[in-house]
């Protein structure tokens, strides 16, 4: 029965391949079909989540029926089960949003790319094979390239070009890393690599790990490898931007975490972590500073998102279980908040014809529900208690302190202060500046936004069950010994 | 013995590379590519013989097809026929 | 000569493809043959319209005979051409006298024209530069006659007597 979790991969593919055929019969059915597929995907993801969290055991999908490391396996542990659900749900909501947000043709192609972006991220977080990770990373990246350029403006193309060039360099070096690891161990399965990690030649291992992380860090938007991100975020269709921020970057972050921890036996591991902490820190600082005086709100959110991603990376690189759990929690919270924020900003841009901050003046009067949603999201990101992000920031602080990284704490403080500055400016513009006629807000989108708002507040007020889940998810990445034990490795040993 | 021929043909490929790098016109370079691909096809067939594996002949054939169409594509592009 | 029937063209295409398949697989394994037949039928169905105009008409004994006879003739021309090339290339003085000349052909069939053009290209000192209607423009490495008639006599005529039979 658990093998049916492979539907998580099969369904989006099936959906994407079916669209060209569907289009021939009814062009108008494509977008509703997209919503339907993402809805079913959410259902499957919910089932998988339930399965994993009730049994407490990961689902190991054996593609082709071959046991790893001979075959490729999917490892849907606590992390993947959780994030598969996040991805599916976010995709579903954004598919709903797309009904309204996407008017540029060819929509059937958009729907296909949309599904494949979702597929790519799903694959990245669930695969148990390092080359398969590369394949899913490329699926994600290439559909992201296409979607970034989808609007076909010069700027969109420019953004996509930057993404392609940087992503291309990243993926090439990632593959060099794979070649090094493979050349040294003769296997690609992550659990197998973890099991044999002590056998790798230290020089090779160090270079290999560094290159793998380098490649992933480009997609994970770590400074200074993230220069593509603000442009892509700004120019992609609004639902896509939300997806980038909500889960695409998270998938890369996860992959980074997974790769780091399966190779934790490698000599010089600590210094790689330290390097990553430095990168993460710079990501936070530069991201926040760049957001500070942005006049385009979407771009501002993009930088804000990058800064949060830096925090997540720092959490990943703390090298402790608490750090990972906090990091995962922050990923989760950030996914919800940024899905909401980009949805809202996109909706505003659609209704009012742009995302410049001037468009947001008087938004409280024009689009009160949207303005409210943005406000809640902003307040949450700043780290106000009783909103969800507060808890993950607290956990990050605790984890950093436990790991003797006191200055990370100062980082979070400073970052939050800067966040507070620019978000308050936005909130002020929305509620206390400008006038305007009330715009009829879409009921469906209002519902979606309020759902996310409710989620933010529910987690803020009652974080326990979520935190428990996050700790399990964090331990899923951290506890490599358990990971190796969970994967039914065939005895192919040197 | 086959190795000698392999070397001979490889030398011819290297020689024709001179024209590729030297130019001076784009047409010269494409001609060089055309010749190089033809020579390489022969080289591949000889390699198949060297390794005694007929399956490599398929590779040579695929290569010949792709190279041919590629060269024509370049030519048509140069001419403005695309 | 007009187009042959669809059936004729289809069968001719399938036959050609099937023979090529046999060559490709170099095998009479029934599995290969069967699959080859199937593929020939499918690919033939997709492509016969562009592949041939005359269909089975190509296989008339006269044409086949002339075609067989043409092979050694052409090969010999080609070897001569290459010796000529070798001479010009290896000769320290590089003896050439190039130019573009025009020839006329009596061929009207496209495949025939293609065969003529290819033949010209592969034989002594000439490359087909362009074909417009019945006018062939030819780059000649050692121009011996600039007039259309003279050039035609030297370049196209020798092939045409075969090609006319095979393709017209």
């Amino acid at each position: 029965m658990s093998q049916y979790a492979s539907l998580l991969i099969a369904l989006p593919l099936f959906g994407a391949f079916f669209i060209p055929i569907l289009k021939r019969t009814s062009k108008n059915a494509v977008m509703p079909f997209l919503v339907l597929v993402t809805l079913i995907q959410t259902g499957i993801a919910a089932w998988v989540f339930n399965e994993v969290y009730t049994t407490g055991k990961p689902i190991i999908v054996l593609a082709g029926g071959f046991k790893p490391p001979v075959g490729i396996n999917l490892y849907i542990g606590h992390f993947a089960a959780l994030f598969v659900l996040v991805i599916a749900l976010a995709s579903f909501l954004m598919a709903v949003f797309s009904l309204r947000a996407v008017s540029i043709e060819p929509k059937d192609k958009y729907a296909m790319l949309f599904l494949l972006l979702m597929l790519g991220a799903t694959g990245m977080i669930s695969t148990g094979d390092i080359f398969n990770l590369f394949v899913f990373m490329e699926i994600t990246a290439i559909s992201a390239y296409a979607l970034t350029a989808y609007n076909k403006t010069g700027e969109a193309s420019e953004a996509a070009l930057k993404y392609i060039v940087l992503g291309g360099i990243g993926s090439s070096f990632f593959l060099v890393g794979v070649a090094l690891i493979y050349g040294s161990l003769g296997t690609l399965n992550m659990a197998h690599i973890a099991e044999l990690a002590h056998l790798v030649n230290p020089t090779v291992a160090k270079a290999g790990l560094a290159l793998l992380i380098f490649g992933l860090a480009v997609e994970a938007e770590q400074f200074p490898l993230n220069a593509w991100a603000p442009d892509a975020y700004q120019e992609a269709p609004h639902p896509v931007t939300a997806m980038f921020s909500a889960f695409v970057v998270k998938a890369s972050l996860y992959a980074m975490g997974r790769v780091i921890y399966i190779l934790s036996a490698v000599e010089g591991w600590d210094s790689i972590l330290r390097l990553l902490i430095i990168l993460g820190t710079l990501t936070v600082i530069i991201g926040e500073m760049s957001a500070l005086r942005q006049s385009n709100v979407k771009r501002m959110f993009a930088y804000s998102s990058i800064a949060q991603v830096g925090l997540i990376a720092v959490g990943l690189a703390l090298g402790t279980q608490a750090g990972l759990s906090a990091s995962v929690f922050h990923m989760f919270n950030h996914a919800i908040v940024k899905a909401l924020m980009f949805l809202a900003v996109g909706y505003v841009a659609l209704e009012l014809g742009g995302a410049e901050i001037s468009k947001f003046e008087g938004l409280g009067k024009k689009m009160p529900i949207t303005a409210f949603a943005i406000t809640v999201g902003a307040v949450s990101i700043i780290g106000i208690p009783l909103f969800n992000v507060f808890w993950s920031k607290v956990q990050l602080i605790l984890a950093a302190l436990n790991a003797q990284y006191t200055w990370v704490v100062a980082l979070i403080l400073g970052a939050s202060l800067v966040e507070a500055t620019y978000y308050i400016r936005l909130i002020h513009a929305m509620w206390f500046k400008g006038e305007g006629e009330k715009v009829k807000e879409s009921n469906v989108l209002a519902l979606v936004m309020l759902l996310l708002v409710a989620l933010i507040i529910v987690i803020g007020i009652y974080p326990e069950p979520f935190w428990n889940a996050m700790q399990k998810a964090g331990s899923d990445i951290f506890d490599v010994a358990q990971y190796v034990k969970n994967v039914p490795l065939l005895g192919v040993n040197p | 013995m086959i190795a000698v021929y392999l070397f001979l043909i490889a030398a011819a490929v290297v020689l024709s590379m001179y024209r590729f790098f030297r130019g001076p016109t784009t047409a010269d370079r494409i001609v060089a590519v055309d010749i190089m691909t033809t020579l390489t096809t022969g080289l591949m067939v000889l390699f198949a013989l060297y390794y005694k594996r007929a399956i490599f002949l398929d590779v040579a054939l695929v290569y010949a097809v792709l190279a041919f169409v590629g060269v024509v594509a370049f030519a048509r592009y140069m001419e403005g026929g695309l | 000569m007009g187009e042959a029937s669809r059936i004729s063209r289809y069968i001719y295409t399938v036959l050609t493809l099937f023979v090529i398949w046999l060559f490709l697989t170099s095998s009479f394994d029934p599995q290969e043959v069967a699959i080859g037949a199937i593929f020939a039928l499918i690919v033939g169905a997709l492509t016969y319209e562009v592949f041939t105009e005359r269909g089975l008409g190509n296989l008339s004994p006269k044409r086949v005979l002339y075609f067989i006879a043409y092979i050694p003739y052409f090969l010999w021309a080609m070897i001569k051409a290459n010796l000529d090339v070798a001479y010009r290339v290896l000769h320290p003085k590089r003896p050439i006298n190039p130019g573009i000349v025009e020839c006329k052909t009596v061929l009207t069939n496209n495949v025939g024209k293609l065969a003529l053009a290819n033949s010209i290209t592969l034989t002594p000192g000439t490359i087909t530069l362009d074909v417009k209607g019945n006018r062939y423009f030819i780059h000649w490495i050692d121009v011996k006659d600039e007039s259309v008639e003279g050039a035609s006599e030297k370049i196209t005529k020798p092939f045409e007597k075969f090609l006319k039979v095979i393709f017209e």
Partner: protein
């Protein structure tokens, strides 16, 4: 060494020789047209020699006759396509404006093109005149 091997080897040798000639021609000839003249022909003939030779050689070397049909296919493919690509290239070279070598004696193509242009030009003028006439009505 079997007869087949011998024949095969001789063919390969001849082919390889022409390959080298082809490369030399590519280097030595003064313009792209003459380079094509020499290189294409010898490369094609060389291919026939090398590829078919290899097929025959395989009878002795590998002990299989199954090489011959496939090498034949490759050889014929090259025989058919090399002149086509050469033709496409030379036409492209000419049309993209690569000049003939200064020692060239005649360019009939240029003359033909010019007269063609004249014809086209007259045709164009006529069409314009016709269109205008229609407008007047």
């Amino acid at each position: 060494m079997s007869i087949a091997s011998l024949i095969g080897q001789v063919l390969v040798l001849i082919g390889a020789f022409f390959y080298v000639v082809s490369a030399l021609g590519l280097i030595r000839m003064p313009d792209v047209y003459n380079r094509m003249q020499t290189a294409t022909k010898s490369a094609t003939l060389g291919s026939l020699g090398v590829i078919i030779g290899a097929g025959i050689w395989a009878i002795g070397e590998v002990g299989s006759y199954s090489w011959i049909p496939k090498t034949l296919v490759i050889a014929i493919f090259l025989l058919l396509t090399n002149p086509i690509s050469a033709h496409a290239l030379i036409r492209a070279a000419y049309r993209s404006g690569v000049p003939l070598w200064e020692g060239s004696v005649v360019d009939k193509y240029k003359e033909a093109e010019k007269s063609l242009e004249r014809v086209e030009g007259i045709k164009g003028n006529l069409e314009e005149a016709l269109e205008e006439g229609e407008k007047d009505e």
